[in-house]
């Protein structure tokens, strides 16, 4: 492991972008900008931005609270308020934060919503979450966008038509009312053109892991790479510039034959290439990552980085069909894919990126990912004869992160991969 981490330009750009959005949000009351709460999967930020409104993503607040060690207090606050220990900790973290004054993870007050845009894609709990928020913010209108599940493994014209109707009859009229502005399709198309460019860049960025060594870690660093597109910048020119810069940096790494950057420097020897299924743990993110990079394990693909949109299978937003395109984007998010599609997608990643092993990080809070994961694992093991591993943690509840259990399991998994390599040799 090389020592010292020089911040790359893209890191600085991202930090500035997020800080700027945070500042805009904290000043929303003064500037009169309307605030829309919505979710990352199926985030139709282009539409929000076309009305000059600002998006807030409660699950991003929750995960950042987790990373900054604030989530436990919020979760306990929500539990005191009647929430069960058994339910999603993102919800409880968000509710707890709101009950404690809605001070965001960066110390700035998160403005209350003017609109709750319940675009629920691939996660039923999102719906329950906004039912709760609707009661906590009485009088705030709810615009519901129901995304049909790809149960048959494809999108039908009826599914798209249903979503477009919802956009036209439910979502857009409510946005017009809240923002006081008319729907401007040209403006939406402009944002979608930016999204389309960004989607191309994202594919190229994550395809770079085909190289040996992989220039990036597609899970632990990957969550930073998907930050801008999932956190307010989908459809913006800033996102286009950020991803162009990031791609350039990665190409330089490829040319120099460099491995991924970690919090402790570059990985000098890539020993294991893994595909990971499931979200990461946020409360012990650094320790969790360290367990991998200390062993020279690099994640070459992960399902979690596709949670805000899957572009691997050819989907790109089409600015010429703006509403249809938003609908299809929502339906194409990872957790809106059926299990067969997930198996195929993961299987392609394992093959395409020459992974040595497949690992599931099963999250207590997230049934959308977790239910069926053991079967996905079984299918991949049978289909590809690849070593599989399984660990458990939670999103933002530190009470469910057991460092030694995870370490033990990972060590066994890496030993298995090592032995397998020797056998193959």
């Amino acid at each position: 492991m090389s020592t010292g981490v020089a911040k790359e330009k893209s890191m600085i750009i991202q930090k500035e972008m997020i800080a700027q959005l945070s500042k805009e949000l904290s000043m929303a009351k003064d500037t009169g900008k309307k605030v829309v709460y919505t979710f990352v999967p199926g985030n139709i930020s282009e539409l929000i931005l076309s009305f000059d409104m600002l998006p807030v993503y409660p699950e991003i607040n929750a995960l950042q609270s987790g990373m900054r060690k604030k989530s436990e207090g919020f979760i306990r606050g929500a539990e005191k308020h009647g929430h069960s220990e058994d339910v999603c900790t993102y919800v409880k973290c968000d509710v707890g934060m709101m009950l404690a004054g809605n001070i965001g993870p960066n110390g700035e007050t998160v403005p209350p919503p003017d609109l709750l845009l319940l675009s629920y894609t691939g996660c039923f709990t999102f719906m329950k979450w906004f039912e709760t928020l609707e009661r906590l913010y009485p009088g705030v209108p709810v615009a519901l966008l129901h995304t049909p599940y790809q149960e048959a493994g494809h999108i039908t014209p009826e599914m798209t038509a249903y979503m477009v109707k919802q956009l036209k009859e439910e979502v857009i009229p409510k946005m017009e009312k809240v923002s006081g502005k008319k729907y401007d399709e040209e403006k939406l198309k402009m944002h979608l053109r930016n999204s389309s460019k960004v989607e191309e860049s994202i594919i190229k960025i994550f395809d770079s892991t085909k190289n040996r060594p992989s220039p990036i870690d597609a899970y632990f660093a990957g969550v930073y790479y998907i930050g801008p597109i999932n956190n307010g910048f989908r459809g913006t020119s800033e996102a286009v510039d950020y991803y162009d810069e990031l791609y350039k940096e990665i190409m330089v790494r490829v040319q120099k034959g460099l491995g991924p950057i970690t919090p402790e420097g570059e990985i000098e020897e890539e020993r294991f290439r893994l595909v990971v299924e499931g979200p990461p743990n946020w409360t012990h993110f650094r320790e969790f990552w360290k367990l991998f990079y200390d062993m020279g394990a690099v994640i070459v693909a992960s399902s979690y980085t596709k949670v805000g949109g899957v572009y691997d299978m050819g989907f790109r937003v089409n600015p010429d069909k703006p509403l249809e395109s938003l609908a299809e984007y929502c339906m194409n998010c990872y957790t809106n894919l059926n299990l067969n599609q997930r198996v195929d997608l993961l299987s392609n990643c394992i093959t395409k990126f020459h992974a040595d092993g497949f690992l599931v990080n099963s999250i207590k809070s997230c049934n959308s990912f977790s239910a069926g994961q053991l079967m996905i694992m079984q299918q991949l093991e049978r289909k590809l004869e690849i070593p599989v591993g399984f660990i458990e943690s939670d999103l933002v509840d530190p009470r469910y992160f057991s460092y030694s259990n995870i370490k033990n399991r990972l060590e066994s998994f890496f030993q298995m991969l090592e032995q397998r390599k020797l056998m193959v040799k």
């Binding site: 039923f124 149960e151 207590k364």
Partner: protein, 395 residues
Amino acid sequence: MDTPDVIIRKCEELAFDLNFTRAKEWKAQDASRVLVGNMPIYFPRELVHAANGLCVGILGGGDKKLIIKGDAYYQSYICHMPRSIVELVLDGHFEGFDGFIFPSICDVIRNLSGMFQLMGKGTFVKYLDYPQNFSASVSEDFYINELQYVLDQIYAINKVEVTAERLKNSIQLYNKNRSLITELYDIRQQFPWRLTAADVYHIVRAGYVIPVEEHNEILEAMIQHIQVDRGKPVDKIKVMVMGAFCEQPPVGLIKTIEMAGCYIIEDDFLLGARWVQGDIETTSGNPMHDLCMAYLEKSTFSSSVYDVNNPKENRLMELIKKRKVDGIIFAAPSFCDPALLDHPILQKACNDHHVRFISFLYSENTGQFKVIKEQVGTFSDSIKLWDEPVVINNL
């Protein structure tokens, strides 16, 4: 006519026959008949009936099935019912079933549909996406298309054409079924000692695994029996049990609540059978439209539905008022996100309207009820000794 005890015993056997013997016998009598398994909560069974099929409710193995293999498919923090369903699959209990329907109620049931697809069970597996937008102009076409998909799948198996007349006839049979179940609950509200809650549970659950015509006969006979007094009134409070709409509570739990000083007057155990409130219209000449409108306009409230314009806490309070219960028992399965995330909302409404409640978790195979009995007993005593009757105003 069979005596009440004979009917109840028969229903108990039917309700927990995990081999679905009666359904399979029914299918064997005609080559064009099909069996379609449906998960909770609601599916318009009329549709399958009209296509010469029988919908069979799949409610898990309860405490009747030892889980060995099913646990290998689910992490410990996922509810119990899907693992017992997988166990039933792996042990061949659904052999002879033609298709499976998974209503959109939560992520676990949704992903279970994918597991059935991966296991290659049935000729078709359908995750049925119910619209969450209750405006007909937005949702009718989509929902009808979802229903038509099911009909097309069955047609591909048995070539039975579903005419408007057939569907209308099926709707009328299920209208009668819903009306009889409502009558059973209404009588019980007034005379809860005439049938126990466990009896009612068995009678209604039997309807999940037999033809509706047979179930209607059972219900008619039972209603006739309880027109006259049987059993003795006991000094118990009247309660509603909420939260058990998917993973079913063990019957022992239902009995425990009643033994601990409560009459269960209202519940959501088998909510699918009572999902549509009132009759489905059959006068439009387009029964698919009628079925669709019944869902959009006559659905009950549930944790799996977000009816933005019709808050569930208000509907719960209306139900309390209608059933004149003394309190609510929130009994939800462990790890059930929909039910448990509703608790703070519903319990706040209870507090606001001075409705007494208690809350506990169970799993379909819970076997120890002592703690629950003490909790429910204390709840019952406290209401009997000190509480004023519930009066709900200003909803």
